[in-house]
């Protein structure tokens, strides 16, 4: 039960997994994001429902309700969540903030005031790396959460919130304004390349998921601070890695054993202290929580009380074809900066996807 495929963010291995699923030669298990990404694998045909396992292990009692809602597709559970990542985090370099006497911005006006001040000082106010093509849409997703709120944002993906609404226009305008303050070489850098700016104290702020925390730790950089993305206080933009069981897995019993470990407390603590994410389970004792670093502990507290919204770029909120169309529209926007045209493209993407999932 092995076969590693290099290449980050799960984008590369999908091209290998899907033909294998269709050909009837799947691996024992693979990483699946919680949420509508599972639609892309036609689970009724290719995956085994895990409802029995959930019942035996009692997971429906220790996983948060909002997460359980995400894990259900067509009435069944398809994956066992091992962790939770947060997407709407603003990372900043404490040294720069101390030098210029700044505090983390709570809204976009404060954010742009900070940008203006830092630009005058020759520091990159906001760093971004878009070599993977998903980092900029990730940023846009968090801006959408800030302009539409938790319910408004969730409604975008169910059809309740129209994509023609003001909140979307405002989000595009904010993204357009941010582009005036980013590092000019963002197209050549991946998100960690952008993070180097913070480590070198040449860039001040970055919006990226909390795997950044794990990367900072690996780089030995401790001078970072964090805050929710401006305007998203009290909202937790979540994504979750899960493992699934294909129908034709060569070793189903062993895989079920692995899935049990994934969902167990010991398994999740062991996995997440290394990966830099928080466990999906909410039943950790304070001593167990103390094994995690300061950011992760504050993250666990937020996860327990904030409103949880699903990330779209990381497979939770929408089916894969919609995610691709969303990404394409934003990537085109980076060059054209055409708010009206991009909004129209987003409206069309939503119509296509919602019609397909009826």
């Amino acid at each position: 039960m092995n076969a590693t495929i290099a290449g980050g963010a799960g984008f590369v291995f999908r091209a290998v997994i899907k033909p294998r699923l269709i050909a009837g030669n799947p691996p024992d298990t693979f990483q699946l994001h919680a949420g509508l990404e599972v639609e892309g694998y036609s689970p009724e045909t290719y995956l085994t429902p895990l409802d029995k396992l959930y019942e035996i292990e009692g997971w429906d009692k220790v996983l948060p309700k909002d997460l359980l809602k995400l894990l259900v597709y067509k009435g069944h559970y398809w994956g066992v969540p091992v962790n939770i990542h947060r997407a709407n985090v603003l990372w900043y370099d404490k040294a720069i903030f101390k030098k210029y006497d700044l505090t983390p911005p709570k809204n976009w006006d404060e954010f742009f005031a900070i940008c203006e001040k830092l630009k005058a000082e020759g520091i990159v106010p906001f760093v971004m790396g878009n070599a993977g093509g998903w980092e900029a849409p990730h940023l846009f997703e968090t801006i959408l959460v800030s302009t539409l709120g938790a319910e408004g944002y969730k409604g975008l993906w169910t059809g309740k919130t129209p994509w023609t609404s003001e909140g979307v226009t405002k989000a595009l305008e904010i993204l357009k304004k941010i582009l005036a303050y980013v590092n000019p070489d963002y197209a050549a850098l991946s998100w960690d390349g952008a993070g180097e700016y913070l480590i070198a104290h040449k860039g001040a702020m970055m919006i990226m998921g909390d795997w950044t925390n794990g990367w900072f730790m690996a780089k030995g950089y401790e001078g970072y601070g964090w805050a929710p993305v401006p305007g998203t206080q009290g909202i937790f933009d979540a994504l979750s890695d899960t493992f699934c069981l294909p129908k034709l897995a060569p070793h189903p019993i062993n895989t079920l054993g692995w899935l049990e470990v994934c969902g167990s407390k010991e398994g999740q603590i062991a996995f997440n202290t290394r990966k830099g994410s928080i466990p999906a389970r909410t039943d950790l004792t304070p001593e167990e929580k103390a094994q995690f670093n300061p950011y992760l502990q504050s993250c666990m507290e937020d996860f327990a009380r904030d409103a949880i919204v699903p990330s779209v770029i990381h497979g939770a909120a929408a089916i894969e074809s919609w995610v691709t169309d969303f990404k394409d529209a934003i990537n085109l926007f980076l060059a054209t900066k055409d708010v009206a045209g991009t909004q129209k493209a987003l409206v069309e993407a939503a119509e296509t996807a919602l019609a397909a999932t009826k």
Binding site: G122, G132, E320, A335
Partner: protein, 301 residues
């Protein structure tokens, strides 16, 4: 007696060729046919769905903004790649034809890039063309230009949407002009010295000799190079993946890359198949006339 002997030999030949013929029929033409079939179907999720939808996928593609940009990029890339490789390859061949000392060393050096895979070329040129930034300092080519005082030539290269695919074309020309040079060198060697002598006696300048005597004689080689480079150019994919990805505003995107993304990320298998068929048609526009031309020529001989 004679007829039976001929028949026996023909049978053996046929049997020897049969495995290859079957393999090609299945794995090349069979799969092309299957792709064509899928491109006319509605297979846009992981689960196959073969309902016939006519040319809907093709029409949607040509209306798709990303595909339109891809076609434009492909045209720009092909134009730059072909003219660049042919011009530089020919120039290098002419220079090396002067019977200079160490000709074989130079020839080897110019041919080396061709032995690299596009992945290696892509990664190296991605580093070379990474512009850096005012805060972190320039890198790669920009750094070199700064150091030799040509800082005003600095560019965003592939990070600048206005440059985009042209930067990729530079890397591709670097890789393949050595190959064109080798072809032209062989061709130049095949031109008898008497022709050049005769032209010189008639009072032609060196430039005129090249223009009116040598280049026309090299036409078959130019044609061959255009065919080979042309079909590489239309299918270009791994260079884009290794070097730039789709680029800001899709300025480096090409149809083959879009085909991969739409098939394996958006699960739109039918749309991916449609792109493949369009690429096939574009390449056949190049290859088929060439094949007809060369078969006809052989028949004449």
């Amino acid at each position: 007696m004679r007829r039976r002997w001929l028949k026996g030999e023909r049978l053996v030949t046929l049997l020897l060729l049969l495995p290859s013929v079957i393999a090609v029929a299945v794995f090349v033409y069979g799969f092309i046919g299957w792709t064509g079939y899928v491109s006319l179907s509605n297979w846009n999720k992981l689960l196959p769905d073969y309902t016939f939808v006519g040319f809907k996928n093709f029409l949607k593609l040509f209306a798709h903004p990303r595909f339109q940009i891809d076609l434009r990029n492909l045209a720009v890339f092909t134009a730059l790649f072909l003219t660049g490789s042919l011009a530089i390859g020919f120039l290098l061949a002419v220079l090396l034809d002067r019977k200079v000392k160490g000709e074989s060393i130079f020839r080897t050096i110019y041919l080396y890039p061709m032995s690299l895979s596009f992945i290696v070329t892509g990664v190296v040129w991605r580093w070379l063309m990474n512009p850096g930034s005012p805060q972190m300092g320039s890198t790669g080519i920009n750094l070199l230009l700064e150091k030799i005082g040509l800082g005003f030539l600095k560019s965003g290269w592939y990070t600048d949407p206005r440059v985009g695919i042209k930067a990729v074309a530079i890397a591709a020309v670097w890789q393949m002009s050595g190959y064109v040079m080798a072809m032209y060198l062989a061709g130049l060697r095949g031109i008898p010295e008497e022709l050049r002598e005769a032209a010189r006696v008639d009072g032609a300048s060196e430039f005129q000799i090249y223009r009116y005597v040598i280049l026309p004689l090299l036409r078959p080689i130019t044609l061959g190079a255009v065919i080979i480079l042309g079909h590489i150019s239309l299918k270009i994919y791994d260079l884009i993946v290794a070097m730039t990805g789709p680029g800001p505003g899709f300025s480096c995107d090409v149809p083959a890359y879009f085909m991969w993304e739409t098939t394996f990320h958006a699960n739109r298998f039918a749309q991916g198949a449609a792109i493949a068929i369009i690429l096939l048609l574009m390449v056949s526009l190049l290859i088929v006339p060439y094949l007809i031309f060369s078969v006809r020529r052989e028949a004449e001989v």
